[in-house]
Amino acid sequence: MRSQALSTLFTDIGLTLIGLMIFVVFFVLMIFFVFRKSGKSHYEKMSKLPLEETQAPSQSSQKDSNNSKGTPNE
């Protein structure tokens, strides 16, 4: 009955299964690679990449800064 119901909704069962398989395999592999312990230092370094050029907090929070003329932070 279940397959009957599915067949009325999904006329291309083969195609649907291929899609599902690609989807599941892709995400399992991705989560495996992303959460390996060996990546921790790399991710820490990458997350700081936009900040490498930054020497002061946000330009508009000038109250926190003595830099009255606003030398470029980057």
Partner: protein, 707 residues
């Protein structure tokens, strides 16, 4: 990766960034004012001024195109050009390509601003522009892509930061969406017919339309979020791992969700359910991204009190969370039955556009302009006032439109104990929500007032600055940050080309699985049904319907819902629109559905309705169309139009094509003679556009013949 001979003496290209930022301000103002005028027209029909160029059907695409491609587009380009140079530690690959991109894009916007008010439109949402402009968009986008990817190839930072991945996904996917949705056959310099018809056109259009939101208004802005929020807060992104999952899940899932725009329509059930399932799945990555953005501020929440940039960013991310909560919710069929075609959808898109895109753009402008001009922001107070005006404006807009949407949706759905509609008169459901349209205008005024403050604040900032900053590219850094060999995703982040290919494959999977079955249209068409193609005059009328943007207020799709069937007649079928290029199923009902309006009223009713809608429908909001009564029908272009249709598979005979002008004129004279029985002067209208439009309206829902 090549070193390409960069030295310390090289500078980032800040000039191109500044130009794009100025374009943001210019086009943002125009987009918002066009939106305000459209809101005024919805509340007071008099604001159409009986002028064809700014009547609602033409103004609405101008507003959406200006907001999406002119305002948001220039925000994206400014942010991409600024952040990519810094994340790659190199100047953009080619200044020439950068400037071709800038001026090319602005010319496209100008072309859109001229052609849309003149009525040159394909009437496909967010893809209204005609074929020469479509080609120009493709060329300019390819120029942008070459410049961007060449910059990645010569970068001096080994790994690609997460913002760059979102830019990669944007550039690849928008190219794919635009090219496939714009395959059309020209019939004149500024008119074309899409190769897709009916259900195929609907499927391709909403694959494009939904993913224009996904890959033009979401992924590039997420890239900007991942770059500018950490910079403004001076904190690294909360979880880099989460950003990887966010990226791949979003790219993989988003592309499937288009069919949720077509629930309860003639689209096959399997495609509708596919759209629903993947839309619901989008909750997870969207909220993962929102949480990642907000938690980047951990330890820096105090900035929310003092720093308007952080205020705008937090507001933007919060609206991102709200809009991406609503999207999946609205795709659930039971919710969709209530909200679709109502102002609830307008509320939803504006929480995204004004909240997510707008606030993020303003935050970026306040962050970048002082830096680029080596000065402080002129006034933190004005910026803070802008934030509160924008926030109040969005909330007024959002709450009023959701209230209007739910109210009208419930009125449409109401069926009494005898099985009859409680509110059978459509206009009654419109007048009920009219006061809420007034509130929307107030909301828009708040938002625009805040924008005006920003323009003044940024102008004073630039004036106080010491000119555009010249920033040297920092020293070369080629090491990857350790001796350990890169593996897994870390390895992938160092390789721009394989990364881009994988991204392309991710979006391709969903697209192929949706389209391959849909391309076999014959499987959904019942062979015993035959739909007569439009006569030459009806086709001329249809082209006028398309040109005037009637789809902005009228659907041509009766859903398989009881209350739709009770109001409009039997549910629309796949067959009924099988020759329609473009499809006109619509997405909003400010007026009633027209799928079966043919034969419902006499010709004279339509004539009087188009001349003065309130003469026949009391309290109607529809604009008048007086120009249809003096503009002539293009009879002599009909042979070419029908021959293109025949080439595309519409079953016209050779005689119907060769005699198209004569046959159309004969039909027009018959209609005019009928009208002249009421007023002899109407006989002179036979060659005017109003007669062709009446012919088309009277044929709607009347073409099905059983074989």
């Amino acid at each position: 990766m090549s070193s390409k001979g960069q030295t310390q003496s090289e500078f980032y290209d800040n000039k191109i960034v500044t130009y794009f930022l100025f374009a943001v301000v210019l086009w943002g103002g125009i987009a918002f004012l066009a939106g305000l005028l459209a809101a005024l027209q919805m509340a007071f029909w008099q604001f159409n001024f009986n002028l064809e160029w700014i009547t609602f059907g033409r103004l609405r695409p101008l507003h959406t195109n200006a907001a999406i491609f002119a305002f948001a587009g220039n925000v994206i380009f400014a942010g991409v050009y600024h952040s990519t140079q810094r994340l790659c530690k190199t100047r953009m690959y080619s200044d020439t390509l950068s400037w071709i991109h800038f001026w090319g894009w602005q010319l496209i916007i100008v072309a859109a601003a001229i052609t849309l008010p003149l009525g040159f439109s394909q009437s496909k949402e967010y893809a209204e522009l005609e074929w020469p402009i479509d080609i120009a968009i493709t060329v300019v986008w390819v120029v942008f892509a070459i410049n961007f990817f060449a910059t990645l190839m010569v970068r001096r930072e080994k790994h690609l930061y997460v913002a760059l991945w979102f830019y990669i996904a944007t550039i690849i996917t928008v190219a794919l969406l635009h090219v496939f949705n714009s395959i059309e056959i020209p019939v004149s310099l500024l008119q074309s017919y899409p190769v897709y018809a009916g259900i195929q056109d609907a499927m391709v259009q909403w694959w494009y339309g939904h993913n224009a939101v996904a890959f033009f208004l979401t992924t590039p802005f997420l890239g900007l979020m991942y770059y500018y929020v950490p910079k403004a807060a001076n904190r690294p992104v909360y979880s880099y791992r989460l950003s990887i999952i966010h990226f791949w899940a979003l790219v993989f899932i988003y592309i499937w969700a288009g069919p949720h725009h077509l629930l309860y329509t003639a689209l096959p059930d399997w495609a509708q359910i596919l759209g629903v399932v993947f839309s619901v799945m989008l909750w997870a990555p969207s909220w993962g991204g929102m949480i990642n953005g907000l938690l980047t501020l951990r330890g820096a929440w105090h900035l929310l009190r003092t720093d308007p940039v952080i205020k705008f960013f937090v507001g933007a991310i919060t609206f991102y969370g709200m809009a991406t909560f609503e999207g999946p919710l609205l795709s659930i069929k039971a919710v969709n039955a209530l909200a679709h075609y109502t102002d609830g959808i307008i509320a939803h898109v504006h929480s995204g556009a004004l909240g997510w895109n707008g606030l993020l753009a303003f935050g970026m402008l306040y962050f970048l302009i002082p830096k680029l001009f080596n000065t402080k922001l002129y006034s933190l107070g004005l910026a803070t006032t802008h934030f509160w005006l924008a926030l109040v404006g969005i909330l007024l807009y959002y709450i009023s439109m959701w209230t209007a949407g739910i109210t009208q949706g419930l009125m449409w759905m109401a069926i009494d104990e005898n099985g009859r509609l409680v509110y059978p008169d459509f206009v009654e459901t419109v007048t009920q929500i009219l006061p809420l349209y007034y509130v929307r205008i107030v909301g828009g005024l708040f938002y625009i007032a805040g924008f005006a403050l920003m323009v003044y604040n940024l102008y004073k900032t630039v004036k106080a600055g010491s000119g555009l900053v010249e920033e040297a590219v920092p020293g070369v850094r080629l090491e990857s940050g350790g001796h350990e060999k890169d593996k897994g995703h870390r390895w992938l982040e160092g390789l721009a080309l394989p990364f881009s290919v994988l991204t392309f494959l991710a979006i391709l999977v969903g697209s192929v699985i949706q389209f391959v079955p849909t391309l076999a249209l014959h499987r959904y068409v019942q062979p015993e049904k035959f739909i007569e193609p439009w006569t030459a005059l009806e086709q001329a009328g249809r082209d006028i319907y398309v040109k005037e943007g009637c789809y902005t207020c009228h659907s041509q799709m009766i859903r398989t819902l009881d209350f739709d069937v009770l109001r409009y007649g039997p549910a629309s079928t796949v067959e009924e629109s099988m020759w329609d290029r473009p499809f006109q199923w619509g997405s909003k009902r400010t007026g009633p559905d027209l799928a079966r309006v043919g034969g419902k009223y006499p010709d004279l009713w339509h004539l009087r309705h188009m001349l003065d809608p309130r003469e026949v429908v009391q309290n109607s909001l529809m604009p008048a169309y007086p120009w249809l009564f003096h503009k002539k029908t293009d009879f002599y272009g009909l042979r070419r139009r029908l021959s293109v249709m025949r080439m595309l598979g519409v079953p016209y005979t050779e005689e119907q094509v060769a005699e198209a002008d004569r046959l159309a004129q004969e039909q027009a004279r018959r209609i005019a003679q009928g009208l002249a029985e009421h007023d002899p002067s109407y006989a002179e209208l036979w060659d005017k556009q109003i007669v062709a439009l009446i012919a088309y309206l009277q044929a709607l829902g009347q073409k099905e013949k059983l074989q």
